[in-house]
């Protein structure tokens, strides 16, 4: 059981000419393997700052981030080993893959760098990972990113994230750039992998609908502070905080829309 502890983290940026900006204000949560936390909030709420701190691209001004009780290493081999356990899937599968390299290369790199499997087994492992994300190794392995669809590319990005056998996956808007019709497929894939590999997943999004269906727990962030936290259904269906309610009211909800329109008033 892996446990990621984000404890009382505050992050302050010094903005030239504008003083200090508090991006995160005393944020705490715990992510366990096998669980998914949805992190929602509008642009600028601090969602991505959390991801940056988790990957050590930024350091907290105060507070601790602990993986299985140990603080995040700040440099060298130890930091590398930490990052091996925590991987990211980015929003834009068009930008996160290198157009010059084949799909094989993208997945081989982490395998080699992290020495996950002996060199002789690298090819087999690449194929296994591609199959894992429901891609046919035969057809995609020698392709380049531009030859694949957005959904296929995002699957490659997921396979790459899984290559170093992480315990925690941070997925920053992994489906928002994809066509609506294939979003569910990718989310279902992530849910399968999470269950089968016992991953802890931090799902960062501003889409309340997918957050609710995909997460066990949801954290609502507003201006760097956690304003609401609870099980997915509690937070979305019975929001307590005014900001959460505002977010919910702004999300498209045809069910409510047409219920309110019908002369009988619908089910509400």
């Amino acid at each position: 059981m892996t446990v990621l502890d984000f404890a009382h983290v505050t992050k302050i940026y010094n903005v030239r000419g504008a003083g200090q900006m508090k991006a995160l204000d005393d944020v705490s949560f715990t992510l366990q393997s096998g669980r998914t936390i949805g992190l929602v909030g509008q642009s600028g709420s601090g969602k991505s700052t959390i991801a940056k701190i988790l990957t050590q691209l930024e350091r907290p001004t105060s507070g601790d981030v602990l993986l299985d009780g140990a603080p995040i290493p700040q440099r060298g081999q130890a930091l590398r080993r930490y990052r091996q356990q925590l991987r990211m899937v980015f929003q834009d599968p068009f930008a996160s893959l290198n157009p010059y390299h084949s799909i094989r290369y993208h997945i081989e790199r982490p395998l080699r760098l992290d020495g996950v499997v002996p060199a002789a087994q690298t090819e087999a492992e690449v194929r296994r990972l591609l199959e894992r994300v429901r891609l046919d190794p035969q057809t995609v392995i020698d392709r380049r990113p531009h030859e694949l669809s957005g959904g296929q590319r995002q699957r490659v990005a997921i396979a790459r994230a899984l290559a170093s056998r992480p315990k925690i996956l941070v997925a920053d808007e992994p489906v928002s750039m994809l066509d609506v019709s294939i979003r569910l497929g990718v989310l279902n894939l992530l849910a399968d992998l999470q269950r089968e590999e016992g991953l802890g997943v931090l799902y960062i999004t501003h889409d309340l609908a997918t957050a609710r269906h995909f997460s066990d727990e949801i954290i609502v962030l507003n201006q760097g502070r956690i304003v609401e936290q609870g099980t997915a259904d509690d937070v979305i269906l019975r929001p307590q905080d005014p900001y959460t309610r505002e977010l919910r009211a702004a999300s498209p909800d045809p069910e409510k829309h047409f219920a309110a329109q019908s002369p009988t008033g619908g089910l509400r």
Binding site: T36, Q42, S43, G150, D179, V180, S181, R183, L184, L187, N188, A191, D192, R195, H206, D207, L208, A209, T210, R212, H213, F214, D216, D233, I236, L237, P242, R245, E246, L247, R248, A249, A250, S251, P252, D253, P254, E255, K256, H257, F258, A260, Q261
Partner: protein
């Protein structure tokens, strides 16, 4: 709460009161003349009513953008319009055959009668010119008889209308938030009071709260100025809320065209049902993501 007026009632559907046609598209086809040729739009016919918001939905590559660009002749080679007619019924009573316009007539027609809010409009502004100057350009080109003073007054009024505020006239795009930039783009599209605005994924890059504000504004402006909207997006939940009618496209064809409510309650086409079931419902039953 600030978002309180986001109740669905703010998007009144007026389809029952509108029968007047603004744009008639008949048997319209577009082929991308590559090897092998791709039939992007196949024999599409539809009537757009005056003042209505028509949603155009479908997956990437279904032809929705090609259709919307094609009816304004905005397509470039290798796209070729292979059949069909587009007739614009001007408010003056004149009917304009869009395919028959010569380049100068076409130049006048565009933006004056039909304007666009482009996909990724947030990045469509010139980064090195103040927004006021970019808005003035529209009048410079289309209303050369206007004086500088009149132009400036018009631009200030436009910025007020879209709630950016006239005091931002000298702001550069990077000094505005994404939502504000999108409002500037809407102001630009509104400048000549066109009768039709084509919006291609106008809110896709914005977060939900800003998106809601922009949609509310589009809806209000539509009521105030009476223009029609062709709204292109693959976000069906959003489309269901703001559209009067929705056309569902697949492989270059419109498979279903009906009021938003009937698309939601009684989808006839199998593909419409598939699309409807492909997005998770905010308040609907759990289980769409198998966990």
């Amino acid at each position: 709460m600030p978002g309180g007026s986001g109740s669905p009632a703010s998007f009144l559907h007026e389809s029952d009161t509108m029968t007047d046609t603004l744009l008639s598209v008949h048997d319209f086809s577009v082929v991308y003349d590559v090897e092998p040729p791709v039939a992007a739009v196949k024999n599409v016919s539809l009537d757009l009513r005056r003042g209505e918001i028509l949603g155009l939905a479908g997956e990437s590559g279904c032809g929705k953008t090609t259709l919307a660009y094609g009816v304004q002749r905005l397509l470039k080679a290798p796209a070729v319009i292979t059949s069909g007619s587009v007739v614009f019924h001007d408010a003056s009573g004149e009917s304009i055959d869009v395919n028959g316009l010569d380049p100068e007539q076409m130049r006048r027609f565009r933006w004056d009668k039909v304007s666009m809010v482009f996909q990724g409009a947030m990045n469509a502004l010139n980064p090195v010119a103040p927004i006021g100057a970019q808005l003035e350009d529209v009048f410079d080109v289309h209303r050369p008889e206007m004086s500088a003073r009149q132009r400036r007054a018009e631009v200030k009024e436009l910025l007020e209308i879209v709630k950016v505020g006239a005091q931002r006239i000298r702001s550069f795009p990077h000094e505005l938030s994404g939502g504000m930039r999108q409002r500037v783009m809407i102001a630009m599209a509104l400048a000549l009071r066109p009768q039709l605005m084509v919006m291609d994924e106008p809110t896709t890059a914005l977060d939900v709260l800003v998106q809601r504000e922009i949609l509310r504004q589009i809806s209000q402006l539509r009521h105030e100025f009476g223009f029609s909207v062709i709204f292109i997006t693959h976000d069906l939940p959003l489309l269901l809320e703001i559209s009067d009618r929705i056309a569902i496209m697949r492989d270059g064809e419109i498979v279903e065209l009906d009021t938003a409510e009937r698309i939601w309650t009684h989808p006839k086409d199998e593909y419409t049902r598939t699309l409807l079931s492909s997005f998770p419902r905010l308040t609907g039953e759990r289980g769409v993501v198998v966990r």
